[in-house]
């Protein structure tokens, strides 16, 4: 059945009430019955929950074949915990038919590809999927289609009981002996632990894995002992060098800076650019550089930013310290400046993924957002964005908070170069729709700006400010005139991944790619 972004969704996926994507805010006003976990009572006073090894923790929690284990990705490319736990489960306990439900997976998790090929891991639910794992899943080696969700879609699915977590694993930079965890104070600090919070509350069992045991009570705790069954102390939960980069640097690339300046101009031309406005930006080259130019416009107009959310890095913390932004509410930290600042700099707070972006709760931050500046792998003439699949159709990205912030914000700006190598970023049809075009408002490229015709009000703003813009078709033709018109990708029938919209409807599917011959 065709959905609202023109994608054909196979009928076999439309069961148990699953629907195809119907457009923005379709689920608004509907009700959900929240799932509840079955948890063990710890009534008898307990000195400590520390067990010897991951395998001991798995046994204590009654780990069985066919279970769903959950993980969070604050340790990013430095994470050791996913591999450690899956190795113990599969190689020591001999478990099979496992499903991994992670907030995201990345380059650190290449070893899991092996378990997929062996048929031991049969399900993947995640935001990001890359590297070897992306390749084996794209090759159709995972038994069931991978389910890809945004950062807001995941807590929604957990709360609605669409994902039932048997055991959640918390990678904790510090923990006390009963499982109060924090993201700071240890040797593998990650700052915010926001993505793990829903998991800890909705999983039947929760295991904390830490490499820094601290005195009880570890306060204020990001994950609380009231939700934790066991604590495992290991030598190392991750590689600190890959958890947080030293400092997210603002790009010096003149093309990035040019686009960033245009982004700031667009923002400053709208009525939402007023004292107390709210803002989120990614950490990609031009997105991050937009901070710099925005500050100039803020000074000129004599206004301050009210608050900022998202994945946070140094330049935003800098603005907070300078008093140019009132508050930062933080779900994940990208660099050491942000890690060192959270819960320490006054006004820098931690939030859960649900609080950040969940479309089914009663007050996610994204819904109060004025502006978001985001990147894209591809954007098509209907303003649909792809941040998941490469131009070869292989899984190598993550929707992350992209669809959530785009949908919630009043003005969503996509900033991307027109072409990357021989790939046209602005194209006729994106490979996979990860953010629907009805949520995207303005596109800024190095060859020009385009405004979504769904937003005549913004077109007027740009015109009034004298900012030149063109129809998006013109940008697409410009791109094709440089790189040539690409051949259509050839797919097999087999669905290898299902892309859920943030509201739980089906936005797109990724199929197995056909081997290519130039003849």
């Amino acid at each position: 059945m065709k959905n609202a972004v023109g994608r054909d969704i196979p009928e076999f996926l439309l069961k148990d009430g699953k629907e195809v994507y119907q457009g923005k805010n379709y689920m608004d006003g509907k009700f959900i019955k929240k799932a509840s976990p079955t948890t063990r009572r710890y009534e008898k006073p307990q000195e400590s929950k520390i067990v010897g090894t991951i395998a001991d923790a798995l046994k204590l929690c009654g780990a069985k074949s066919g279970m769903t284990f959950s993980f969070h990705h604050h340790l990013r490319d430095g994470d050791y915990v996913v591999n450690m736990v899956m190795k113990a489960a599969i190689e020591e306990l001999g478990l099979e038919d496992m499903t991994i439900a992670a907030t995201s997976l990345g380059a650190a998790h290449d070893p899991i590809a092996e378990y997929i090929e062996q048929g031991k891991v049969v399900g993947i639910q995640t935001s990001g999927i890359r590297g070897r794992m992306g390749e084996v899943v794209s090759a159709g080696k995972l038994k069931t289609p991978a389910v890809i969700r945004s950062h807001g879609g995941r807590p929604r699915a957990i709360e609605a009981g669409e994902v039932h977590i048997d055991i959640a694993f918390i990678a904790a930079p510090t923990s006390d002996c009963v499982g109060n965890c924090r993201g700071i104070g240890g040797k593998s600090d990650c700052g915010s632990m926001g993505y793990a919070m829903t998991d800890a509350r909705y999983a039947d069992r929760v295991v904390v894995v830490t490499d820094c045991l601290v005195d009880f009570p570890n306060m204020p705790a990001s994950i609380e002992a009231i939700d934790v069954d066991a604590v495992v102390v290991t030598d190392s939960i991750g590689d600190p060098k890959k958890i947080a980069s030293a400092a997210a640097r603002i790009s010096q690339n003149p093309r990035d800076l040019m686009m960033a300046e245009d982004v700031a101009k667009v923002i400053a031309s709208t009525p939402y650019f007023r004292d107390g406005f709210s803002f989120q930006t990614g950490v990609g080259g031009p997105s991050l550089a937009a901070n710099l130019f925005l500050e100039k416009f803020m000074d000129e107009k004599g206004i301050k930013m009210g608050w900022s959310i998202g994945g946070i890095c140094g330049p935003m913390v800098e603005l907070l310290k300078k008093g140019k932004v009132g508050k930062i509410i933080d779900v994940q930290d990208f660099d050491l400046d942000a890690v060192r600042s959270i819960n320490r700099t006054p006004g820098h707070y931690e939030m859960s993924a649900s609080q950040y972006a969940d479309p089914a709760n009663k007050g996610a931050f994204v819904n109060k957002l004025d502006f978001v500046v985001l990147a894209a792998l591809e954007i098509d003439t209907d303003f649909n964005v792809n941040v998941l699949t490469g131009s070869d159709g292989v899984l190598r990205g993550a929707p992350g908070g992209h669809p959530d912030t785009a949908a919630g914000s009043k003005c969503c700006v996509i900033v991307t170069p027109l072409i990357r190598g021989r790939m046209a970023t602005v194209c006729e049809h994106v490979v996979t729709v990860t953010t629907p075009g009805d949520c995207v408002d303005v596109l800024v490229t190095d060859y020009g700006i385009a405004v979504n015709p769904l937003r005549p009000d913004l077109i007027e703003c740009l015109d009034r400010a004298g900012i030149k813009h063109v129809p998006i078709e013109e940008l697409k033709e410009k791109a094709y005139s440089i790189v040539g018109r690409p051949d259509e990708l050839q797919w097999e029938d087999r669905v290898v991944a299902v892309l859920e919209a943030r509201d739980g409807t089906i936005l797109d599917v990724v199929r197995k790619i056909k081997p290519y011959t130039a003849d």
Binding site: S391, D392, G393, R420, G421, R422, M423, I482, V483, G484, P486, D487, L489, Q490, I513, Y516, T517, A518
Partner: protein, 99 residues
């Protein structure tokens, strides 16, 4: 033109292509590309057209493409062919066989 000895042009940098030609019988093309699924056919066409324009009939040619534009691919093929028969030093027929 006749391929007299093996010759290389280009690099493996992003947006470039490395082209190697060797003496051979008939045309044989080996192509690897980072944009194979979307541009493989067009790259093959460009390479064969360029060889035809240069009058190369016997040649083994290998192209390792890293997302180069058509103009780059043409230039790399032309350069490799001219190097292979010692014609890249001087008197390059700009606007003639090379365009």
């Amino acid at each position: 033109m006749r391929i007299e000895r093996p010759a290389v042009a280009g690099t493996l940098e992003s947006s470039d292509a490395m082209v190697t030609v060797e003496p051979g019988e008939g045309l044989s093309l080996e192509l690897a590309s980072s944009v194979m699924n979307t541009y493989g056919r067009q790259i093959k066409e460009t390479v064969l057209e360029t060889l035809k324009r240069l009058g190369v009939e016997d040649c083994f040619i290998s192209v390792v493409d890293k997302g180069a534009l058509d103009c780059t691919i043409k230039a790399r093929v032309e350069c490799a062919v001219f190097r292979s028969c010692g014609l890249s030093e001087k008197d390059i027929p700009w606007g003639g066989e090379v365009r």
